[in-house]
Amino acid sequence: MGTSVFYLVAFLSIFFSLMVIFAKNPVHSVLYLIVTFFTFTVHYILLNAQFLAVVNFIVYMGAIMVLFLFVLMLLNLNKENEPLKSGLVKVVGIVAGCCLVVTLIGSLKATAVSDPLVLQNPNLGLVKNLGKELFGPFMLPFELSSILLLTAMVGAVLLTKKEKV
Amino acid sequence: MEPLTSKKKILIQKPLNFAERMYLPALGKGLAITISHFFKKEATIRYPEVQREMSINWRGMHSLKRDENGKERCTACGLCALSCPAEAITMIAAERKPEEKDLYREEKYAAVYEINMLRCIFCGLCEEACPKEAIYLDGPIVPSDYLRKDFIYGKDKLVEEPLVKK
């Protein structure tokens, strides 16, 4: 049963992520992206990673996508007033896309089909275990990433204050 | 500019102190005021069931009075219509027949007596003008209606109920 649920949800994630690209209206794109993130949440739950699932729920669906939607609504982009791309941009786009496809195919060929990943501890995704893992062996990278985020935040604040300096 | 009076009061706006800047004490005070109103008696009067007492010089709908024997007092002299500043009153006089002696007090009476309640301003001048004490503005508020013609009140609505015979 778990596998069939996985295939259904995986199909939905791919379907909705394709819809993100193909939707003409940017707001629709963002809404499809939200649904895609929701399917990711379901994936996490299937992997018994409750904490990650809920954090994905809160941070991506609840905060970041709201901001995306916010900006798009504020700009009020419509397909009518979208500027037409010039021919050169289209050519560059096609070349870049083809390069990406080639790279993907190459990397897919290189990877061998591995055995299904077996977790040593199936309850790793629960809050307590994850916390111990993060603040035990992965203490330094975890704290470093928080410093990285802090730098980004300070930078953003500095950019807004630029005129006054 | 030179102040015109010496009553000018200079207000000094002090910067808010810490408690005021916290906003919470003021908020608590506000909540206390509203909750005190929660237990106060409500000012509402449930109108159709309970009616508010009117003041003694209240002037409402007109009524044409009868005398102590139940006869109509009005003699159709027309003084009320004459005094009316809004020209709301019209009447047609008629002569009393011998068999109608119990209905009307004087020999002349108002066969038709109409007040247009849309014109009436309830000034009470008709009441003052009447030599026979036949019209008083002692009724309730004139009720609303849908058609203009329904606001012309005839004798059917104006004359007060006959006295009940003992």
């Binding site: 707001v27 809404l31 939200i34 409750q50 904490f51 809920v54 954090v55 729920f57 809160i58 669906m61 609840g62 905060a63 709201v66 901001l67 939607l69 916010f70 609504m73 504020l74 009020n76 629960l126 809050v127 | 908020l27 506000g30 909540l31 005021i33 509203t34 909750i35 109103h37 929660f38 106060k40 008696k41 409500e42 000012a43 509402t44 449930r46």
Partner: protein, 346 residues
């Protein structure tokens, strides 16, 4: 997973859903009554005794109204909006423990909680953060400038206050050491309510709860003087009803969350003595009644505040959220952490 388990859960979900709808319905009535009493008026008293049938009359009116979808509105999203608002409002009730488990005569233990996930607090938080989508999608799909402005306001307000709310919850989690709502409630047995240990955290949480449910004084997304009707300007009939309903369900859910997290849920002083007096079947029901009494008290508080405090200006709202609540919340987390470390040391 036996069949009785499924039936049990299904019945519980149905009951909770029904109760939250009825409470939302009567919240509209209570709001009008409370507003009236606070303003020395009577409030609705014509439909039935004391106007008790007023919500039914209102509901009937909503159903009978003409359904209008503006020509230039995005029809599909216009319809999704109210449904989403309702959905996100209702799913929050899933993790709240409504009472201590009931032991039936057959020895079966029925927990009065739909599901006890070990990240319950975060789940509530996630649902709250999703609740803005109904407003945003509806406001955008209406294709009306006022609705759009309202949607944008709602989005930025929710994001700003989510941060402070999350930080106030972190301080609470430091105290409780668990994220499961069931365990949090059980820790507050008797009178050991979390509000006694986290008074500042509770204050922050309740302020954020007002902001997240778009209630006065933070009801900027629907402030009439500036934005006509706000995000539901273009809505009519039952779609409008859904939006109004969702607001009251949100209020109910956040009252339940506050009662659970900070005010001991179904615990009350002297509950052990009551248990010995009335037996293990009645005692949980009394606990549930106590929980609902707390919830109603919070709902009353929501209404009381609405009719006392005027609406914030938008810049004041942002100032309060970012420059006041967040620093206080961070300080609260740090102080709580230090105190806990000291207590554990000695």
């Amino acid at each position: 997973m036996d069949i009785s388990f499924v039936i049990e859960k299904f019945v519980l979900v149905a009951i909770i859903f029904g109760i939250s709808l009825v409470i939302a319905m009567y919240s509209t009535y209570a709001e009008r009554k409370v507003a009236a009493f606070l303003q020395d008026r009577l409030g609705p008293d014509r439909a039935g005794p004391f106007g008790i049938l007023q919500p039914l009359a209102d509901g009937l009116k909503m159903f009978m109204k003409e359904e209008i979808i503006p020509t230039h509105a995005n029809k599909w999203l216009f319809m999704v909006g109210p449904g989403l608002a309702m959905l996100t409002a209702c799913i929050g009730t899933a993790v709240i423990p409504w009472g201590s488990p009931i032991t039936t005569a057959a020895g079966r233990i029925i927990p009065l909680q739909v599901t006890d996930i070990n990240v319950g607090v975060l789940y509530i938080f996630g649902v709250v953060s999703l609740s803005v989508y109904g407003v945003m999608i509806g406001g955008w799909a209406s294709n009306n400038k006022y609705s759009l402005l309202s949607a944008i306001r709602a989005a930025s307000q929710n994001i700003s206050y989510e941060v402070a709310m999350g930080l106030s919850i972190i301080a609470l989690l430091l105290v409780t050491n668990t994220m499961s709502l069931k365990e949090i409630v059980e820790m507050q047995h008797g009178w050991h309510w979390n509000v006694l240990y986290q008074p500042l955290g509770f204050l922050l949480f309740i302020i954020c709860a007002f902001a997240e449910t778009n209630r006065a004084p933070f009801d900027l997304p629907e402030c009439e003087t500036e934005l006509i009707g706000g995000y539901h300007t273009e809505y009519s009939s039952m779609k409008l009803g859904f939006y109004l309903f969702a607001e009251y369900i949100n209020m109910f859910v956040s009252s339940a969350v506050m009662a659970t997290l900070y005010f001991g849920g179904y615990n009350y002083p002297g509950m052990d003595w009551v248990l010995t007096q009335v037996g293990p079947v009645i005692a949980p029901l009394i606990g549930t009644a106590v929980l609902f009494a707390k919830i109603f008290a919070f709902i009353f508080f929501f209404m009381w505040v609405r009719w006392t405090i005027p609406r914030f200006r938008y810049d004041q709202l942002m100032h309060l959220g970012w420059k006041v609540l967040i620093p206080i919340a961070i300080a609260n987390v740090i102080v709580t952490g230090i105190v806990i470390a000291i207590v554990e040391k000695f």
